[in-house]
Symmetry: C3
Subunit: 138 residues, 3 copies
């Protein structure tokens, strides 16, 4: 059994942003030299998401509008009594999820035709980390 | 360490449908001959879900009504500028999640008394695939 | 490859409650003596969640208020025709998710600075189980 761990560092230009990170994950899986296994991709910060969906900018815009409707930025969250202003980011990240486990078959990510791995940022403009842990048989 | 990979193909009769796939996953786990490990069950299409909940048709109906309230089908999604009409399906699938990782203990799925694995389809009536990757010690 | 499985039993004082279970998971990981691997933490009951977020009581209160808005307790769910009264709990648990997979590096949970593992109960006051399955190389 082989394991390989790496970290992706992301600093977004905007406070809220969606980014396709499939190519970065592919590169880490290639280095791992695992023929059959799994790759865990997990946001290490609690205001960011990892999710799988379509790489289509219209859909990304729809996702952001929809998250704002379901988990709006507003002043009166209890969390803000601590001095924070990002309670909505904590909620938005949970709607999309914070991690995915990707199957690896014959040395490559075994994804469906439109599956792409995305990073969703809801309180960005500062460095955040994503862990990628690859696990399997050589 | 042993791995075993199989794919379940599903074509639903309805555009939106919930189906219990626990028996199919059980069969794949039996073939894998893994005594202690994990089974990843993951939808390979971006308008379908895999989730664990109760096998109860009233609840399935409640889930569908609820998803329609939180992520309604409507014309004015940006995603529809590409010619698609299924942006709501992309959103609904994220509310339920697209994958589960099931523990295997003593050769069998180690689930609670009412835990059943479900496939949720939100843009069906065409073949979709679910990957099942089993992983563990013999 | 090494595996180790344990179960956490939780009986909450309130019907709905959030509890930080990171210390319990840490103890199980320490017993597993896995240097590099994964820990699956999964609720075995279908009205409870496992999720990662901030250990901050104001945020916990915000999460409960928000879940009540998105998946309200009410009488007219179809699920209640079976004699149950907890359809909202089945829905709430899906918004937060029911499991997480935690990376283990150098024998310890490899979490970001504010990541804490939480149990979310939505129909409690009776014993519920959480499985923790640790998996990896010694």
């Amino acid at each position: 059994m082989r394991t390989h761990t790496d970290y992706i560092s992301i600093t977004t230009a905007e406070r809220c942003e969606i980014r396709d990170i499939t190519a970065e994950v592919d590169r880490i899986v290639a280095v791992a030299k695992v023929d059959d296994g799994l790759a865990l991709v997990s946001a290490m910060h609690i205001t960011a998401s990892i999710f799988i969906n379509d790489h289509e900018s219209g859909l990304w815009s729809d996702i952001m509008t929809w998250l704002e409707e379901l988990a709006p930025a507003k002043a009166d969250y209890h969390h803000h009594r601590t001095g924070e202003d990002n309670a909505d980011a904590h909620l938005k990240r949970m709607l999309l999820g914070h991690q995915v486990t990707l199957p690896i078959t014959k040395g490559k990510l075994d994804l469906g035709p439109w599956e792409r791995v995305h990073y969703g940022e809801f309180d960005g403009q500062r460095p955040k980390r994503v862990i990628v842990k690859v696990f399997g048989g050589p």
